[in-house]
């Protein structure tokens, strides 16, 4: 049995535990839009007493629950696993539930807007259908030929590791809606769809890679990516999105020659 670690209480642990609930005043500056009320977009400031260790989602909830119930946003899990609450916080795409106030300079007003490049339906809610359509278009499912084996398909640990990174995607759209190419006309498949294609193209069990590559070889496919890395910076799951896109590009080139 290893020795107790408690005498070497680190500063971080101390800080975490001694979090007597101290609050500061933060200003949320939210971009609001409700077509039932007005065609105009407005920015509304909310002053809140919050603990800096709370999440931006907590602040939004505080507004909704205590100030204005009509503020509308999507959320579910509250810990960065369901992909509901991607939004633009201080100009950058993030998950509201994975962003602590203290990490985004709560001294200044925190701006909150819907993600870019998708139709805004109300406040922070955008139309996700085109996003999921692009996902469905890359055939995101295992394609195999021949008879099913009786037991599992074998796969070496290395082969499994090959596509591990891209299996983490939660389809939050933070990447796609941060991509300058996507903002223009929304026709580009977008990084999320490519990430999910990558997950199958590099799965040793899959035999549909060729078809997926053909789809992504299209005019609106991988070649539109300009390596701006916004997607990689935005991904809350830490997926190396641009790297995955480059790997798909290279796979296309090597298989076409």
């Amino acid at each position: 049995m290893s020795t107790p670690t408690l005498d070497k209480h680190s500063a971080a642990l101390d800080a975490a535990e001694n979090s007597a609930f101290e609050t500061i005043t933060v200003t949320l500056r939210v971009r609001r839009f409700n077509p039932e009320v007005s065609d105009e977009v407005s920015w509304v400031d909310y002053q809140l007493e919050m603990d800096p260790k709370e999440r931006v989602l907590d602040a939004l909830h505080k507004v909704k629950w205590e100030i204005d119930g009509s503020l509308t946003f999507r959320r579910s899990c509250a810990h960065g696993i369901c992909g509901s609450d991607a939004m633009r916080i201080n100009g950058r795409n993030r998950l509201a539930c994975k962003t602590l106030l203290k990490d985004i300079n709560p001294e200044k007003p925190i701006t909150i807007e819907p993600i870019k490049g998708m139709a805004v339906l109300k406040d922070l809610v955008v139309d996700m259908e085109p996003f999921f359509q692009a996902y469905r278009d890359v055939m995101p499912f295992l394609i195999t030929k021949g008879n099913e084996p009786t037991r599992e398909r074998r796969q070496s640990a290395e082969d499994r590791e090959r596509f591990d990174d891209t299996t983490k995607c939660i389809l939050c759209a933070a990447c796609t809606s941060s991509c300058p190419v996507f903002w223009n006309d929304g026709q580009y498949f977008g990084p999320a769809a490519i990430v999910n294609a990558h997950r199958f193209i590099f799965d040793s069990r899959d035999e549909g890679g060729e078809q997926r590559l053909e789809i992504l070889n299209d005019k609106e496919g991988v070649w539109r990516c300009r390596t701006t890395f916004n997607c990689t910076d935005a991904c809350p799951r830490g997926i190396e999105v641009t790297k995955a896109i480059q790997e798909v590009k290279r796979a296309l080139i090597t298989r076409r020659f």
Partner: protein, 584 residues
């Protein structure tokens, strides 16, 4: 109002709903209604693994798994169901693998397995490696894989549709399933779905607790809808408290962390589980560990300035192992606590996690209207249902298994029923109840706010109906809930619009939580014994003579419109295993 007609309607697109949909779509015209986009379902939050006696890494068999499940459930498990669960587990895992799920692999390329609480070799001798896993995001991979296969099969989804009512029509004195009523979030429109068969797979109800691993959206809608339509709820007093939630936040840190060698320690650095469960130690079943943690805290050995938590210590594990096997939960500790798990122990406390109880079903997933009669055409699977394979306490990894095994069964059975039967006529004015519910909330000018009532509900549940319960605390809970239900009548919403009115839906969800919390408290009050997840300090022992039976709670409406709860009981199915004392 719009009316749609489908052979089979599935409510919920979590693991259970989508597993059912894959089967049902192949066999009948199927619609899946879900209040969240399918990939947002809380199955995606599950971390640790899915149990199946594959015996890929060490000797194991489904019979041991059955035993562990029954013992884990403190013998309240229906043993025929547990047997099916353990037996079909193997195919359930292999099916998922064939659908593409990227499990972690052993050196020879088969599915890797790890240890989990309560899973043992040869009836309790030692921990066994039975949990199939994909790092610490097994649920995520299951949810993604099932959604991918729904895309492949062309399953028809109605996303962001809230099912708010179940339609039952009496035909020749028998209540039969006619369909469901749903509210479309985007437009505020009411939709009636006429269906031959309906499968409820709408998940858990943990949001009536404050510290919980459950999502904001887990508000027990399915249970509440069925209950309001006169169907019973089984074993609602059994709620699982997971030992390791992030302190104060409730975000889960998987049991897999202890499966990989993590250790619980109190403020003196002592590995206290050695005292409570000498054999299984940190991997004893969840109810045992949660009680041990609270005992440590109560006896003054808790950590932190207020002594209100203990530590999950992973510091002795090599960082590479943490990165490979537990990347997500270590990330949670960093993000939400600012702690580095390589070097610091993580403050944790038990967190409300899983509803063992729910809508009673038989092993085909058919919903029961009482102890024996099935409701023709109505099915339930997943956390919303109570088969009962989990009895008084669910073993870790058995729920991901449950949703796959019984989701599949329910999907097949429902489609088969739809193929063999005709539509039942819709009741007159089918959307009446929902319309009046929605309209009265929208028009209410009351001065109560949803958030305040919900907060009060969560406070009373955390204080009075958590890990330790007594007659007194439970009475307090019942009293508080009754008062909150009165206040709820005066609740009003600020958003009066039609488009994406989540304000309104939160109010409806709160109504569901209140009903279910009441059932939980009343059922718990009546169960004067301690068993599994239900621990009564005033009755600390298991009482097989009086309470070896399932609770069935019915909603009764008196002549004058007053509501009350009637409790009834149902025998436990025992096949092979006689109840024994439960030791780990």
């Amino acid at each position: 109002m719009q009316i749609h007609k489908y052979d089979t309607v599935i409510v919920g697109a979590g693991g259970a709903g989508m597993r059912a949909a894959i089967e049902a779509t192949k066999r009948s015209r199927t619609a899946v209604l879900t209040k969240l986009y399918p990939t947002r379902s809380h199955t995606g939050a599950a971390q640790g693994g899915m149990a199946a006696a594959l015996a890929n890494v060490e000797e194991d068999n489904w019979e041991w798994h059955t035993f562990d499940t029954i013992k884990g459930g403190d013998y309240l498990v229906d043993q025929d169901a547990a047997e099916i669960l353990a037996k079909e587990a193997i195919d359930a895992v292999l099916d998922l693998e064939k659908m593409g799920l990227p499990f972690n692999r052993t050196p020879n390329g088969t599915i890797d397995q790890r240890r989990f609480g309560g899973h043992t070799r040869n009836h309790g001798e030692a921990a066994v490696r039975r949990a199939c896993y994909a790092a610490d995001r097994t649920g995520h991979m299951i949810l993604q894989t099932l959604y991918q296969n729904c895309v492949k099969e062309g399953v028809e989804f109605f996303n962001e549709f809230y099912v708010l009512d179940l339609l039952l029509t009496e035909v020749d004195g028998v209540k039969r399933t006619a369909g469901v009523v749903a509210y479309e979030l985007a437009t505020g429109e009411i939709h009636v779905f006429q269906a031959k068969a309906v499968v409820f797979a709408s998940g858990g109800t943990g949001k009536f607790f404050k510290v919980t691993s459950n999502a904001h959206t887990l508000t027990g809608d399915g249970q509440a809808v069925a209950y309001r339509r006169g169907l019973p709820l089984e074993d609602m007093e059994f709620f699982q408290f997971h030992p390791t939630g992030i302190w104060r936040m409730g975000i889960l840190l998987t049991e897999g962390a202890r499966g990989e060698g993590g250790i619980l320690r109190n403020k003196d650095g002592e590995r206290f589980m050695e005292k409570y469960a000498p054999v299984m130690k940190d991997l004893a079943s969840r109810d045992v560990v949660s009680r041990a943690i609270y005992t440590e805290i109560r006896e003054g050995r808790g950590c932190g300035p207020e002594g209100d938590h203990v530590y999950l210590d992973l510091t002795h594990l090599p960082p590479e192992q943490l990165d490979a096997k537990l990347p997500d939960i270590t990330e949670f500790a960093r993000t939400y606590l600012g702690i580095e798990p390589y070097t610091d122990p993580v403050p944790i406390q038990p967190t409300a996690h899983y509803a063992m109880g729910g809508i009673p079903t038989n092993v085909q997933g058919e919903v029961l209207a009482d102890n024996t009669t099935v409701v023709p055409g109505l099915y339930a699977a997943g956390e919303v249902a109570c088969v009962s394979v989990h009895g008084a306490n669910r073993l870790g990894t058995n729920s991901l298994l449950d949703i796959n095994v019984f989701g599949r069964r329910a999907g097949i059975a429902a489609a088969k029923f739809a193929a063999e039967n005709d539509f039942v006529e819709l009741p007159e004015n089918p959307s009446e109840l929902v319309v009046s519910q929605v309209e009265s909330l929208r028009e209410s000018t009351g001065n109560e706010r949803v958030a305040e009532i919900r907060k009060a509900l969560q406070e009373t549940m955390d204080t009075n109906a958590m890990v330790f319960r007594t007659e007194q605390t439970l009475k307090q809970a019942v009293e508080d809930i009754a008062e909150l239900k009165q206040r709820y009548k005066n609740v009003s919403v600020q958003d009066k619009g039609k488009r994406y009115n989540t304000d309104l839906l939160e109010a409806i969800e709160l109504g569901n939580l209140l009903d279910l919390a009441e059932v939980l408290a009343v059922s718990a009050l009546a169960r004067k014994e301690s068993r599994g997840g239900h621990y009564r300090e005033d009755y600390p022992n298991r009482d097989d003579v009086n309470f070896m039976r399932h609770t069935m709670a019915y909603r009764e409406v008196g002549e004058d419109g007053t509501e009350s709860i009637r409790l009834d009981y149902k025998p436990v199915v025992q096949t092979r295993y006689q109840p024994m004392e439960r030791k780990y």
